[in-house]
């Protein structure tokens, strides 16, 4: 099992549980990267509503899975999964690969589910947990809807299309590096502890 990188962040004091949840996607670099990548994919399409709706619904399922997962003994979201999704979306944007409707919806469903799953919080009182998760869903929804709409609103000019491709390549590059860091962390965790000469004697 590849352990997640220690990228967890604490809550912001004083803003309440709901707002902590809302800001969670923006404070998680991996989630932010996935959201940006999916927004770019949506922005290159003429009809952006269906994939966005698919994402929102799937994220609800992901959040539900994050609640049930620990109780059913299921592991946390693998750290490579959001990274791979972001990289895939980045490739689609950089290469301007048109996706069939089913493939596109599948991508957004997967993205929504994974990000919802990744938004799981530490067990707390039910009311606090509800606020955190509700806030997380709102944060995901607001972020993606805004990013995607801004991307779709951009004029279809050649240099803007080039800019999208460049942004897609940045997402791919960041995903590859994150993958490498994660694998390095896994390798260092799997390495046997080095024994000192005194211990060997």
């Amino acid at each position: 099992m590849i352990p997640p990188l220690p990228l967890a962040h604490g809550t912001i004091e004083g803003i309440g549980d709901l707002w902590n949840g809302v800001l969670h996607p923006l404070r998680s670099p991996v989630q932010l990267m996935v959201l940006c990548a999916l927004a770019l994919v949506a922005g290159q399409r003429t009809k952006i509503a269906p994939p966005l709706i698919a994402f929102l619904l799937a994220s609800v399922g992901g959040i539900g899975f994050s609640l049930l997962g620990p109780r059913l003994g299921l592991p946390e979201v693998p750290p490579l999964l959001p990274c791979v999704l972001a990289g895939l979306a980045g490739v689609l944007v950089a290469a301007r690969i048109p996706l069939q409707r089913f493939a596109l919806l599948s991508l957004f469903v997967a993205g929504g589910f994974v990000l919802g799953w990744d938004s799981g919080q530490d067990p707390s009182t039910p009311w606090v947990l509800f606020k955190l998760l509700l806030g997380a869903w709102i944060g995901l929804a607001v972020a993606l809807l805004n990013f995607a709409n801004y991307a779709a609103m951009c004029p279809k000019r050649p240099w803007i299309k080039i800019g999208f491709r460049v942004l897609g390549s940045w997402v791919v590059a960041s995903s590859i590096l994150f993958l490498a860091f994660t694998l390095r962390a896994a390798r260092s965790n799997d390495a046997p502890p080095q024994t000192s000469p005194e211990q060997k004697g």
Partner: protein, 220 residues
């Protein structure tokens, strides 16, 4: 009736714009722009340690900027892309960060690559010469050349990652920094639209090649 603002130099007492009446209508926009510039030019509140995500991003973003050998090569990619025109103008800045990330992954994983510094220096020399000589090879040749050099740059970034930096934001930071350097090269390269721009851009290529030579022979 005495107006509070009434003075000898302002007998009407009205508060006037600092700009003359000839710029009436434009002065509001100009003042707004100047005001906004002052706002964004204020120093950021840095009374916090540069750890966590912010520190990682800043480390990554500034890493390419602290190496002249990195800067010249990345500007040269954008310059050459603009020189070659479409599709190289977007293809090269797309290929470089992506392949650079592979090189970075190799560096992070500890996979050794020989002659990194030589490869980086050569990238400046070769790409600079391509611009200086106004070379226009087939697009696949340019892409392969850029890709090869990108591996060296990426490997150097990957091995030089600060241990305290957040790896994710470090990656994002130096990818963005690299991309912005490409964009600056492209912007410079677009000067070739003007007659005087062509020798200027080619001259920049010559400078880049000289800088690469300097790093190759350790003049700097």
């Amino acid at each position: 009736m005495h107006h509070p603002q009434q003075t000898l130099s302002n007998p009407s007492g009205k508060i006037r714009s600092i700009f003359p009446q000839s710029l009436k209508g434009k002065s509001n926009r100009f003042e707004l722009t100047v005001g906004l510039l002052f706002l964004v030019a204020t120093a950021s509140a840095q009374a916090h340690s540069e750890g966590g995500e912010a520190g990682g991003f800043i480390n990554g973003f500034t890493h390419p900027l602290f190496g002249a050998d990195h800067i010249v090569a990345m500007v040269a990619v954008g310059l050459w892309g603009a020189f070659l025109g479409s599709p190289a103008i977007w293809l090269l800045p797309v290929i470089f960060p992506t392949v650079m990330a592979f090189g970075g992954a190799l560096g992070v994983m500890g996979v050794p690559l020989p002659a990194i510094e030589t490869g980086i220096a050569l990238s400046g020399i070769v790409l600079g010469l391509m611009v200086l000589l106004a070379s226009k090879p087939p697009i696949w040749v340019a892409a392969v050349l850029v890709g090869i050099f990108a591996i060296f740059h990426g490997h150097a970034h990957g091995t030089e990652l600060p241990t305290s930096a957040n790896p994710m934001t470090y990656s994002i930071g130096f990818v963005i920094s690299t991309g912005l350097l490409h964009l600056s090269g492209i912007a410079l390269g677009l000067l070739t639209r003007f007659p005087w721009g062509i020798p200027l851009v080619r001259g920049c290529g010559g400078v880049i090649a000289c800088v690469g030579l300097g790093f190759l022979f350790h003049w700097f």
